[in-house]
Every structure is written in C-alpha cells, then in structure tokens.
C-alpha cells in the first residue's frame, strides 16, 4: 500500500469519527466503562495475590520473645524447642532482621519505615516450621507457656481462604467482563454501521472507479481499532488516578495492609485493557464489515 493511500485512509477515518460525534463518544465511553470494570477486577486480583504471597512467604508460626530477655536465654529455648514433637525447623531472628523483612513487605508505608528506623519497636523471635499444619495449635500453646515468650502468631487459615476467594473473584470477573464485552462489541459494530451508512455514496463511487476492497474497508477497520484503543486509554487513566488515590488513602486508614504497588497493578491492567480494547475493536470491525459493507 502506498503512502498516498495510507494518508487517505487516515484522513477518511478521522472524517468518520468526527462526522459521527455522538456515536464515537458513546463507543469510547462503553469501551472505557467495560475496561474500567475489567481493571477493577484486576486490581482486586493483583492485590489478593499480593496479600496471599506476602502471607505465604511468612512462616507458619512466629514466636516473639519478650523485650530485654538475654540472648543466652533465647538460645536455650531455641535449643530445647528444636526437639519438641512436630517441629521441623527453627530459625532465630533479631528485631533488626524483623524490621528489614517488614520494610520489604510494605514498601509504600513511609511512616512505618521512618518509625522502625528511628527506634525499633519489634521483637526478637523464632520462625517455626511444623511437620504438619495440624501440629500448629498444640505447639503454639506450648510456646505461649514459656515465661520468656511474648506471643505467638500463625496464619495458615487466612492464606487458604484468601486463595479460595481469589479464584471466585477471577471467575466472577471473567463472567461480568464477557457480558460487558458483548455490549461493547454491539455498540462499536453499530458505530461502524452508521459510518458505512453515512458514506454509502462514497463507497459506491469508490467501487465504480476501481478502489480495491481493502482500500474501502481500511477506514472502517481503523475506526474500530481507534474506538477500542481510545476507550482503553481513558479507562487506564481513570484507573491509574484512582489507584494512586487508593494507595494514599489506604496508607493512612489501613497502614498494615499490604497493598500491591502502583507499578504491579498498572502493568497488569494496561496489558489487559489495551489488549481488550484492540480485540473488541478488531472483532467489531470484522462483524460490521461482514454484515454491512458488501464490497
């Protein structure tokens, strides 16, 4: 295809889009809404996965030692408890190491970071890996009875519930997205149909003077692509601003909730919305041309 033709096609596409202002706006908005909902589910999923992986990377059970207990006493408990039934592995950490781990888990929490850098309020402790998950409750209470132990926490149940929830979310998301996708397809198809209708005289003259089929089709295909892409970009901008705001609010309201980072989220949503926008645009073009543009 020559440069002249490309110039012509781009010009005609622009003409179509501007001529049908309202349909153009309607199409872009539906794509944007549909992509926004897609992004909403993606943001949820990414965050669920983030929380799950943060929790999973945490050990099965953590035993915290009271402050100001001597290192020697800590080591005695460590040596003894290694042989308790159900214990697979033990790992000692200092409160400094605990602080470093926290920093990794909550990179967005500036307040928290300055707090633990100034005076570390955390505890020394043990990571305890059990042979079986069912060993956890008994071991936990045994550790709690030790005089130097401050407290014991474990979160195995949370992890398994979270991963079940994220599976449900995923399917609900795809279901809703399927319906929205159909609605989007429908409205873009109609937009292209109107453009074809508005240009039926041009199209008939083009055929008469020997324009090729694809020369006639391209402006309409391009129209579908642009509608899909612009809708996706609008959705991305809204989602980007929205998540930025959410991160800010969450860092105040839920300081210890591990939110997925801005980049983690946007990478995922951008891939899906741009891909989705292009896909729906191309599909709509194909449907519209098959049904309404008999060249």
């Amino acid at each position: 295809m020559s440069l002249n033709s490309i110039g012509y096609i781009v010009k005609e596409t622009g003409r179509n889009l501007i001529y049908n202002t309202w349909m153009t706006l309607a199409s872009v908005s539906t794509v944007a809404i549909s992509m926004f909902v897609l992004s909403f589910f993606l943001v949820l999923t990414v965050n669920m996965n983030h929380v799950t992986s943060v929790l999973q990377s945490q050990v099965e059970m953590r035993v915290f030692i009271k402050p100001h207990v001597s290192r020697a006493k800590e080591m005695t408990l460590l040596r003894d408890s290694r042989h308790w039934s159900g214990v697979a592995k033990m790992q000692f950490f200092t409160k400094q190491e605990a602080a470093n781990t926290l920093k990794k888990e909550f990179p967005n929490q500036k307040n928290l970071l300055t707090l633990i850098s100034k005076s570390n309020p955390l505890f020394d402790g043990f990571n305890v890996y059990t042979k079986r998950p069912s060993d956890i409750p008994a071991l936990a209470s045994r550790f709690r009875k030790q005089p130097i132990v401050h407290n014991v926490i474990y979160e195995g149940q949370v992890v398994s519930r979270l991963s079940r929830l994220s599976v449900i979310l995923k399917w609900a998301g795809w279901g809703i997205e399927g319906l929205l996708g159909l609605a989007t397809l429908f409205i873009i198809v109609n937009t292209i149909r109107l453009a074809v209708f508005a240009r039926r005289r041009e199209v008939s003259v083009m055929k008469l003077v020997g324009a090729t089929d694809w020369f006639i089709r391209w402006p309409f295909v391009l129209e579908g692509l642009i509608l899909g892409l612009v809708g996706a970009i609008v959705a991305d901008i809204v989602v980007g601003q929205g998540y930025h705001w959410l991160l800010f609010e969450a860092s105040n309201a839920l300081p210890f909730w591990p939110m997925a980072s801005f980049h983690q989220v946007m990478q995922k949503t951008q891939d899906f919305t741009l891909g989705g926008g292009l896909l729906v645009g191309v599909l709509a073009s194909i449907v519209a041309l098959r049904r309404f543009l008999r060249v």
Binding site: S2, S5, V205, V209
Partner: protein, 228 residues
C-alpha cells in the same frame, strides 16, 4: 476489445435483462446502444462493469473473462473503465474539484499527479471556472460534465455511459455528446446507452438496437430507427 458470446442475464425474480447477446466492440469505437425503456440497455451495461455477472455465456474485455473474474480482482477491471450515469452519482458534500480528485485518491494516486491531472480534465469538460462549486450550484449539464470528468480522470480505455443525457434538454445533450466525441477522438472507446433519437441520427456512429433483451439491429453508421 469487448466480446459478448451468447450472453443471457436472468434476474432472481425470473425476468431476463438480456437474452443470447453476441456483440463485438473494438477499441476506439463510438457505439450507441438504443432501444425502448425496459429493452435491456442497462442490463447489458451493468454486465460490462461487473455489477452483474452473466447467467450464461461469456464476456471478454481485453485480458479479462468476466465470468471467471474473482471478486477481489474486480477493481482491476474497473480501472480500465470510466462509468457515467444519468444521475451523475456525484458526492454532494464535495466540490467539483474534490469529486474528480476523489476518483484518483481512491486508486492511490499521488497528490502531485492529482494536482496536475484534475485541472486538465476540468479544462477538457469546460468546468475550470466551476472547480470550487458544489454539485447543487451547477446546472444539469454541468453536473453531467463533472461525472464525465470523474470517469475520465484515471485515463480509462473504455467510457461506458448509461443515458448520460436522460435528464437534459436537447441543446445541452448535444454539448455532452460533442464532449464524448472529443474524448473518443483522443482514443477512448465510448459505449453509450441513449434515448436521444435526434442525436443518434446526426452522429452517424455505430448503432446497436436492443428490444426485449435481444439485439435486433447492429449498423456501422446507423440511425435510431424508432418512432419515439
């Protein structure tokens, strides 16, 4: 060269447009296609530019065999043809210049070629002064000249006109025919369906008469031959 071999066209509703037509048209000819309304003139012309396909028989146009022509190659055939209609089929939202340039744009001509060629063609059809006018600002004859300019602009070998003077008064019609004659002198083959008896009789060109879908007369320097 164009050749019809035993061509019939039967429409979906069972009516025949043309029946068993044999016809040969050489390059450079000027041919009138005459006959009463409903005779089959338009049917024959639509077959030529591959708007329709023959039901039986074969049409040859230079290197093309029209029944074998793939749909995606129809554009190649049409670039050999310039088609003119009674209603002009002009684009109302474009000027005279843009209407003519459009035909070049959509076959991928460069901007430079368009700027050079369009004024030449407008000059030839006598519309240089009107290049910025919209179709509704023109008389019927002038509109028809725009249609002819658009048919001409890509230098087709064949000009096919279906009653191009159908809406025009005799004097204006005569102007259009003179223009087509000039184009013919410059080398294009002209095939024109018409009702205009006086013009056909004056021009002494080849006349092919059609009635009820059949060719009933084919004369080298003919006359209209009907009392209409």
């Amino acid at each position: 060269m164009i050749r019809f071999e035993n061509v019939s066209k039967r429409y979906a509703n069972g009516h025949y447009g043309i029946i068993d037509v044999n016809l040969e048209i050489r390059r450079g000819e000027f041919l009138f296609l005459v006959g009463p309304s409903g005779a089959g003139k338009s049917s024959l012309i639509r077959l030529l530019y591959r708007e329709d396909v023959p039901t039986t028989g074969e049409i040859y146009l230079d290197e093309f065999r029209l029944t074998q022509l793939k749909r995606r190659h129809v554009s190649r055939l049409r670039r050999q043809l310039g088609v003119v209609f009674q209603d002009g089929k002009l684009l109302t939202n474009r000027t005279v210049y843009q209407n003519v340039a459009f035909a070049m744009e959509v076959v991928g001509a460069s901007g430079r070629d368009i700027h050079k060629r369009v004024p030449q063609v407008l000059e030839l059809v006598g519309l240089s002064k009107h290049h910025n006018h919209y179709p509704h600002q023109l008389s019927g004859g002038e509109q028809q000249r725009v249609g002819i300019a658009r048919a001409l602009v890509n230098n087709p070998v064949y000009i096919i006109a279906d009653e191009p003077t159908g809406n025009l008064d005799p004097e204006t019609s005569f102007g259009i025919i003179k223009l087509l004659q000039e184009i013919n002198r410059r080398g294009a083959t002209i095939i024109m369906a018409t009702h205009a008896k006086d013009i056909v009789n004056q021009m002494h060109k080849r006349v092919v008469a059609v009635e009820n879908g059949r060719i009933i007369r084919d004369e080298a320097r003919g006359v209209y031959g009907y009392e209409s």
